[in-house]
Every structure is written in C-alpha cells, then in structure tokens.
C-alpha cells in the first residue's frame, strides 16, 4: 500500500514537472527550427537539424545588443540604487525613531498600497514636462527607490541588536562607519535576496518602459521583443523564440547562482 502510494507520488511529480516545463522546452525546440518547420502540422517536436542560425539572425535583425544593454543598465542601476537607499532608509527608520521618522514611514507605506496605473499618468505628464520621455533616465527614475524595499529593509533592521550598535559607538565609531562596517555586513543575506528580486522585477517590467520608450534605442528587452513580434507576425516564430531565450538567460543564470536567497527573498 505504502509502496503504491510512493510510486503514485513519484509519477505525479514527473507528470507535473513535464507539464510545468513543457512551455520552456517548446521555446528551446522552436528556437532551433528552420523556417519550414515552424508552421507545419503536426508540429515538429524536435528539429531535424539543430542550428544556431536563428540566434544569429535575431541578433542581426533586432538591435539586440542595444536592447540587452538597455535592460541591463535599467535593472542594475535600479537595483544598486534601491539597495543603497533602502538599507540606509530602513536603518534610520528602525534605529532612530522619532515622531517625524515614524510619520514619514507611514507616508511611504501608504504609497505601497496604490496601484501603479493610478500614478502612471501623472508621472508620465510630469516626465514629459521634464523632457525625460524617450530616454533611459525616464525608465529608471521611478524605480530608483521603492516603498516595498524600504519596508523590507526596516523589517530586517529589527534583527540587528541595539547593543551591537551601542558597543561600536562606545568604541568611537562614527555613525556612518557603524552603518558601513556593522549594519551592512549583517544584512548581506537580505540585501542579496532584495537585489535579485529587484533585478528580476525590472528586467521583466513592461508597462512603464512601454510608455516611456518610443524609439528603439531606448527600449528594454520585453518591449523590444513584443514590438518585434507585432511587426513581423507568425513567420518569425523561431526567431522570436531564439530572442526569448537570450532574454531569459541572465535571469536563469541569476536564479541558478542565487536559488536559496531567491526563494527566501520571495517569501
């Protein structure tokens, strides 16, 4: 009885894994297909010959390097800035509480509740007046620091004992020295998780970059791919899939190296 149950579980695990991973398999298989193989029926499950032609073609067709670079700049600038600002803000909000800081903290938390579509248009109009539309700065600036990151870092700062900070003060460390040498080294795990989360979030962010970037040289990868798809139609499926894999690679890489922190950061 127990053995059949066990076998059933393993079977269920394998079946569900196949179903879950099938779209990714399909992406890889399609990216290797030739132009004749993409629209045939029954569909081709594995191309007759595996070639990297599509990868070369999509890299030539789309200014892929540009899109990739843009996405990379946007995500990393936002990640670095968020990590710096939110750890500093979280530290101050938790360890130097006054009525005023508590007040500001509540303001920030309140912002967290508001869905993006509500503030999207006012920010868009503001950025148009500031001539920030159609530029990478325009995509980056709204993400530079987020309420969620500040909130997360403040929660984390609760775990750093005040005694530790007081001991450093007694030893004559400056306030910023305490932050740099004691608080930051004690926050590496949380910062890693937050960093991966932020990077991933802005790597796939779609609506705001779509609004801001009109010209191809300011587009990020998701926007570039979606618009490429729009203009080329079903004939380019294999190329699109090759592009999709290139777009996915950095995130998968990040996931592989930081899997533990990743899941921790999400929860």
């Amino acid at each position: 009885m127990n053995r059949t149950l066990q076998a059933f579980r393993i079977l269920l695990a394998i079946t569900s894994a196949i179903v879950t991973l099938f779209p990714l398999y399909w992406m890889v298989a399609t990216s290797f297909k030739s132009g004749q193989e993409i629209n045939t029926y029954p569909p081709v499950f594995w191309p007759a010959s595996v070639s990297l032609n599509n990868y070369g073609a999509v890299l030539e067709d789309l200014p892929f390097g540009q899109l990739m670079l843009n996405s990379f700049i946007v995500s990393s600038v936002i990640t670095v800035s968020t990590l710096f600002a939110s750890s500093l803000a979280g530290y101050v909000f938790e360890k130097f509480k006054t009525r005023l800081t508590e007040f500001f903290f509540w303001v920030i938390i309140s912002i967290m509740m508001i869905p993006f579509p509500v503030i999207m248009l006012p920010v868009y109009l503001l950025f148009r007046d500031l001539k920030l539309l159609n530029s990478l700065q325009g995509i980056i600036i709204p993400g530079l620091v987020g309420p969620f990151a500040i909130f997360l870092m403040r929660q984390h700062m609760k775990s750093i004992p005040n005694e530790l900070l007081d001991a450093a003060r007694m030893d004559g460390a400056s306030e910023f020295g305490i932050f740099l040498r004691i608080v930051i080294p004690n926050s590496i795990a949380t910062l890693t998780a937050l960093g991966i989360f932020e990077f991933m979030f802005y790597w796939e962010d779609f609506l705001w970059p779509l609004l801001v970037s009109q010209d191809v040289e300011y587009r990020t990868l998701p926007v570039g791919l979606a618009i490429y798809r729009q203009s080329y139609g079903p004939m380019s499926t294999n190329l699109i899939m090759a592009g999709a894999i290139i777009a996915l690679a950095p995130i998968l890489f990040l996931f592989v190296i930081g899997r533990r922190n990743f899941v921790q950061g999400m929860t």
């Binding site: 579980r9 393993i10 695990a13 569900s16 894994a17 879950t20 779209p23 990714l24 399909w26 399609t30 629209n39 045939t40 029926y41 569909p43 007040f103 509540w106 303001v107 938390i109 309140s110 967290m112 508001i114 869905p115 993006f116 579509p117 509500v118 503030i119 248009l121 006012p122 109009l125 909130f151 997360l152 929660q155 795990a189 949380t190 998780a193 991933m200 796939e204 779609f206 609506l207 779509l210 609004l211 990868l221 998701p222 791919l225 979606a226 798809r229 729009q230 079903p234 499926t237 899939m241 999709a244 777009a247 996915l248 995130i251 996931f255 990743f262 899941v263 950061g265 999400m266 929860t267």
Partner: protein
Amino acid sequence: MQREDIDGVSPVDDGWHWKEIPPFGQSATPVICLDLPHANSPLFAIFWIYPILSAFFISLNDWGLLTGPGSFLGLENYRSALDEPLFWRSLGNTAIYVVIFVGVTIVTSLLAALFVVSLPEPWKAIMMTIYFIPTITSMVVAALVFEVMYVPSYGVLNYLLSLVGLNPVPWTTSDTLIMPSVALFMIWKNFGFYMVLFVTGLYTIPQEIIEASAMDGANSWQRLWHIKLPLLRPILTFNFVTASINAFQVFGPVYVLGRSVGGRDAARTLVLHLYRQAFQYFEVGQATATAFLLFLLILGFAIFQMRLLREQFEY
C-alpha cells in the same frame, strides 16, 4: 456571522488576530498587507490619501494628453467613464480573468504546496525548483511562447488535444476564450510563487499539532480541513489578496496574447482600457478617473476578501 469593526477589532477575541501572525521567513510583508483594514489611526488615513491627490486632481479636469489641463469638470469624468460601454466591457473581461486566475491559482498552488511538502527529501527540493521556474521567466517572453503554443490551426496544444481525441480549441482567436486563455497562461506563470508562500506557511505549523490530531484519529482530509487550513489562514488571505490585486491590474499578458483575437475589445481589460483612453484618445482626465475607479474596486475587493476570510475559519 459576527459583526466586526473595520479597524480589525473583533468583539470576540479569539486569539487569532492578524496582528499576531507568527513571523515566517524573513519578511513581514503579509503582516502589513493584512494590516490594511487596521488603518484606524487618523494619521494613516490622511497619508494614505495624500499620494493619490495629484491623480485625483487630474481626474477632476478635462485634461488632454497634448493640450494639458482644460476646464474643471468635477466628477464629470467619472460619470462619462462609467457611461462608456467599453468600461463595462473591460470590467467584465477583467472580472472573468480575476475569478479564473485567482481561484485556480490558489487551489493549484495550495495543492502543489501540500504535495511538495509530503515528498521525501531529494524530490522535495527538485519539485519546488521546477514549480518555481515559470515564476522567474519574464512575462513577455513567456507570453510569446504561449502565443505560439495557442495557435489554433497548427499550435502544439491543439495537436496534443487531438492526440487524446479532443476537438481543437480556438484559444486566442475566440472572443469568449481569450480571457480564460490569458488566465491559464498567468496561472502557469504564477502558481509557483504562491506555492512557495504556502510551503513556508505549512512549515510554521507545529508538528505536535498534526501528530496530536493523528493520535485522536483524524484522517488526512480532516487534518487538512480542520487544522492545516485554519492555521494557514493568514497566508491564504495574503495570497488571495495579493493575487487579486495583481489580477485586477493585468496588462502585459493581454497586450501580447490579445492581438490575434477577432473582436478587438474581447481582450480589453481595465488597464488596457485606460491605456488606450490616454494614448489613443488623449483623454488623460478620463483615463485617470478610470484608474481611480480601478483603485476603489481593488481596495473594496481586498477589504471584502479579508473580512470574508477572517470569518471563514473561525473556531
């Protein structure tokens, strides 16, 4: 059903306030989100409203995208937003999506979590990673794959259906199926995320309670329904609320997958609706009014869910 105040003070203190959720993992995000109706301090009330003031101001004016502020209209934008048949069409589409996405995602992720937790060790880690992979694929990229698989004439999904003797399904070309197809895609993409939260929640349940109930003769179904689910209530609430808040704002997936649908407005959701109002018809005032209505809708729905879920498993 007992009467409860909006600020989260229940007349009968059952000891299961959401203020007292045991901490899990590193973040206390659920706590703050569950704390939403606990907004009883006047300070909170004031500054909750403040950041939306500029949006609100725009929504009260005849505000063109290119022409800027025109005349002051008061609530006229809201009236005309509500008068537009397309608003109701978008609301309907969004509602279909929310119901399917939230319902199926919660059930699937809960089942996946229970399944994963019951597995022996090497399998547990492997399966959790596999279920989580769709979450990290970027949305547009994954939507493009689903678009390819959904193609009715030669797509692989219909081919697989034909293998088991089923008729082809017009996934993204039918007006009635487009929103369920979009939901199916997003369920695939997101169930792993909610599963991880459920798994963390399941780990916080003390093993003694489970063992004690087994000793008392509770079968696994009774253990799930009477012990695990009530103890998971905070996370269940959090998942429900987060999933609905995100679902109401669906934009990217319909932008990508909704292109091949016959009826142009069959895949119009509220955010797509206000996007078009602003960038095709240049009516920023009205678009912001729509955004505001969406906000109220989300807020009302979230509060409703939290109250409902609080009462559900009272014991």
